[in-house]
């Protein structure tokens, strides 16, 4: 029969455990290492911004903002980015949900296909859109011509007269939106797919046992539950649309006062040798982007992280 341990046995065991404890190296070098790498990248970004800011002044920015072409460009930028973001979210939320929740044949191939706008060079996206709209015919008519026919008929139906302005997509404002949407939507889809992947399907399953069909479970449970992901996807799509240049250049052109957005304004200002103006427009873009992205972070409200660095 074994003897019950006495207090003395327990103490000596505890002591032997204490003597075996090894000294663990400090975590500080690791944290400093992380902070150092982060700082290097941050320095590069801040360096570029400071260099730009030094090259221009508030007076230059104010003067640039008084330019009617830049005012038009700013207006079209805000409008096109907003519409491209809304369209991206309308496509990304159901697509992300489909990819995250369902299995179907060819899913891996389709999933890879969705990344094409992210991988392809921006100029190629623009060129592809141009070829699609002008060289790809449906019943002998190009998509561009179909768009003109459909819009003209809708306009005539509601107003009783033919449109007295130029109708079409290519080299017009709709081309800017489509070019921005083509790229920004891919980023939004990827974000929404990750969001739904990380959300447990249990809430939706419970909703289905309570009487919901899949559609109701999606709209009433999954979508409201994914609001942070939707916000992030919208911010990413908006930022991507704001910075889009290559596809717009090819598909919408850079006609002053017509198809000009802030990113192409920078290009136009450089092309006429007005570097100060180009930098001033860039600073306006930085200010708008920072304001919107900061607002999104505020609405999100998450601080993130687990540990305080003391």
């Amino acid at each position: 029969m074994s003897k019950a341990p006495t207090n003395v046995d327990v103490t000596s065991k505890a002591e032997s455990v204490t003597t075996k404890m090894r000294k663990v190296p400090s975590d500080k070098p690791f944290i400093f290492g992380l902070a150092f790498i982060f700082s290097l990248y941050l320095l590069l970004i801040l360096g570029m911004l400071v260099a730009d800011a030094n090259y221009t002044s508030f007076a230059d920015i104010a003067k640039t903002l008084e330019n009617p072409n830049i005012q038009y460009s700013l207006k079209i930028t805000m409008l096109s980015c907003f519409i491209a973001t809304i369209l991206s979210i309308i496509v990304a939320v159901p697509t992300g949900y489909l990819l995250a929740r369902f299995r179907f044949p060819g899913k891996a191939a389709l999933d890879a296909l969705l990344d094409i706008p992210i991988i392809l060079p921006p100029l190629v996206i623009g060129l592809s859109l141009l070829i699609l709209f002008h060289k790809f015919a449906i019943f002998g008519t190009s998509i561009e011509e179909w768009c003109v026919i459909i819009f003209t008929n809708i306009y005539s139906f509601f107003t009783g007269k033919a449109p007295d302005f130029s109708v079409g997509v290519t080299y017009k404002v709709p081309a800017i939106i489509l070019a921005q949407f083509s790229v920004s939507c891919a980023f939004a889809v990827r974000t929404m797919r990750n969001t739904f992947d990380q959300m447990s399907p249990r809430q939706e399953q419970v909703a289905m046992t309570l009487g919901c069909n899949r559609s109701q479970a999606f709209w009433l449970i999954a979508v409201p539950g994914a609001w942070r992901g939707i916000l992030t996807a919208a911010a990413l799509a908006w930022a991507r649309a704001l910075g889009e240049f290559g596809p717009i250049l090819i598909f919408a052109g850079t006609t002053r006062g017509r198809t000009e957005v802030l990113s192409t304004s920078v290009f136009l200002e450089i092309s006429i040798g007005n570097l100060e103006g180009a930098v001033a427009v860039s600073m306006i873009m930085v200010a708008i982007a920072l304001a919107v992205l900061f607002l999104v972070r505020l609405i999100d409200g998450r601080k993130g992280g687990l540990y305080d660095i003391n």
Binding site: S200, Q203, Q205, V206, A207, M208, T209, L210, G211, W227
Partner: protein, 217 residues
Amino acid sequence: MISIKDCTIQAGNFKITDINMQIPTGSYGILMGKTGSGKTTILEALCGLRKVSAGTISINGQDITKKRPAERNIGFLPQDIALFEHMSVYEHIAFGMRIQKWDKKVIDDRVHELAEQLQIKHLLERKPAGLSGGEKQRTAMGRALAVRPQVLCLDEPLSTLDDDTHEDVINLIKAVTQENEVTTLHITHRKSEASLLGDHFFELCEGRIIQHQEAFV
């Protein structure tokens, strides 16, 4: 009566075959078994959340094997509770009734009746983020019972609760399931929980269901 006859359920590479189980109407069935033995898979199949590749499941004589979850009238309380973060306690309890288009006055009365039974009347306006573990369990229980289901499925509903809350909730589950006259299938690991609540005891062992006369370990 819950009746599961010769059921085969496949979940990825995992498969359970020849599942047979009967729980008389109004009784409280307890399903026990080792972790990973497939208890939750059986519960999901009963709720219609997992397909049954062979056999039949019926409730009160009606074959529900091919019915969708929404058509089965089964209340489900999953292990992770799965509350809807954007809804208040009131909205949780009212959710199923609103989906099934019950009359507004009836919904309001039923929410208050259940909140009274579950002792969460003071929490009706709160969101899940501000609730304790026990309060979340009660909310999920109210949500599952609100539409007056024929069957209630509880997947280890008390596993995350501390001992004091655990005992309170056991008493509450017993009272509420009796008041609502619902046939219950409850998964648990705890013998004490099983013996306090159960009328019929089942063990899932190596893919087979064994029925016992009393709670076991």
